[in-house]
Amino acid sequence: MRILLVEDDDLLGDGIRAGLRLADYAVDWVRDGEAARLALLDHVYHACVLDLGLPKRDGLSVLRDLRARGQQLPVLILTARDSSADKIAGLDAGADDYLTKPFDLPELQARLRALIRRAGGAAAPTLEHADVVLEPASKRVTLAGQPVSLSAREYALLHDLLSHKTHIRTRSQLEESLYAWGEETGSNTVEVYIHHLRKKLGADFIRTVRGLGYQLGDRG
């Protein structure tokens, strides 16, 4: 799960990034509106945490731009502006959620989970396929009712695949979703994690689509 964090305050941005990493998100952090616009143009994110008062370009303008391009990505506004007029303006500009500072870190994590879940078309708080169940809130994965222990990357990969059940995910898409900027990605890391998942969940759980990428198998 890759998230774009737009926050101009060094200390606060550092804190939010650390908090989101603790929830196993890959976090790209930009400090001004222009950088946010460019990042949203060039990369695919699962969600965006957006401050409003930003240097160079206001957060609302970044948001309007994004929606004008037809991008559906869930956006959570995180700002100190707490009047209802500000909230209305933010939601009307295309935000999916609005949180005011100072905020609760677990609440921010929960709201992001809900946003990402709904953006994937799922209303239920769990992701399921065959006899595998993933609970994003507790980050618990079970196979036929038995808990399965996964590393953070394995979990993120499984989450991505479960969020796009009918899609074929390319290797680069999966990499985008696994790593933030500046994180080293080996040439075959995705394959390594796929291999681990198959070992833990069964070889037919993930299907390789030759020349294209990966998809959930038809088991069950």
Binding site: D8, D10, D14, A18, G19, R31, K101
Partner: protein
Amino acid sequence: MPKSLQCARVQSLRWRLLRTICIAALLGMAFTGMLSYWQAQHEAEELMDGHLAQSARLLLALVSDNESHLADLAERLATARSDQSNLYEPPLEFQIGRADGSLLLRSEQAPSTPLSMTAGYTDVEHDGDAWRMLNMASSSGDYRVQVWQSMTLRDRAALEVAGQAVLPIALMSPLLLALIYASIRRSLKPLDDLAADVAARSPENLQPLANRNAPAEAQPLVAALNRLLFRLRDTLDNERRFTADAAHELRTPLSIVKVQAQVAQLCAGNDRQHALAQIVAGADRAARVLEQLLRLARLDPLTGLPNPGGLDLCQLLRQAVADTRERETARPLRLQLCAPSLLIEGDAELLQIVVRNLLDNALRYTPPATAITLFARQRDGETTIGVADDGPGVAEEDLPRLVERFYRGREAGAEGSGLGLAIVQRIAELHGARFEVENLAAGGFEARLRWRRLSPPPATVAVREREAIS
């Protein structure tokens, strides 16, 4: 209860007008009425005197024509006036005689006074009744006649006439008073409306009053009220903005502390140490913002310098440089001092804040090891003190807004409180100085305080000194 007494003494314009105009109108009417009354009474008396004279002449004419006619005259007159209902025809009493005073004829109730009295009108008292009497002699002088009218009857008639003359005025007066009342009420209605408009307003409604309906006399008042409302709205807007901005500024460091604390709870080792250090930094930020806010709040209500005195600008700058070097040990500094010994009149503590804020800004918004110059100079009677750097400068569109409270510039990060230059601006105002900011032609940025014509005269300026520190 002196207050309520004072309130009671405040006069209503309406009642004052009403009272004055009504008293004037009533006095006018009373005077007119009295005049009419006297006039009418006087006319009535003259009329009745004329009546007496006419009767006297008629009687004389009858006598001089033929004395024998007199025999039954009294009787005929008596029957002719049997009906006395008409007030203006009082019974006529008379005596007729010859020039020698012998009586020829007299009416039944005529007072018996001698005929020898002098000709003309006389008021006489007879048997307790007052009479008006006319003595007249015939033109030949052979006969004399004396006619009488009862004073009571005459007065009653005169009163009746005069009364009729005054009646319309008396009837008019209540109508007039009612008209006066109505017209005053009507004229003062716009003022009432104005008062109602003001009274009905909620404290949030600071829209200007509509002055279309106000009378010309009230226009200056409405205009003054509107100016006041405008200033009030301006002040309120500023206050609201300031409060909102202050809340915003305090929320950010609070958010930092909270989120980093929650991160620290969730992780361990180096990450935890890092988060804890960030908490401390966030708390420091909150303290700094609070300090600046309080400083501004203390400066705002001042009308003059709290501690004016003589001070040396060079000394002030030297101190600021020393303090900064002590504080910023981690950062490479290139500070330059360029100032002669300059004695001025001012508040040393406030000017120290100015220099510190300008220096902090220069350090914060330029890359490390940028050359920063603190300068003071006196030229053409102008004294200047300021800080210049050869950093990247400030975006032109930001320059005029730098002194706005909480404004940080579009390019700047969120580190500062956004209040430093607002504080400098306020201190400059208190010193009667101008605060100026500009991008230098050679690159870099300069912020300075400038006084026009400040004592002491240039004679006391010591030799310019230039020193480079570090």
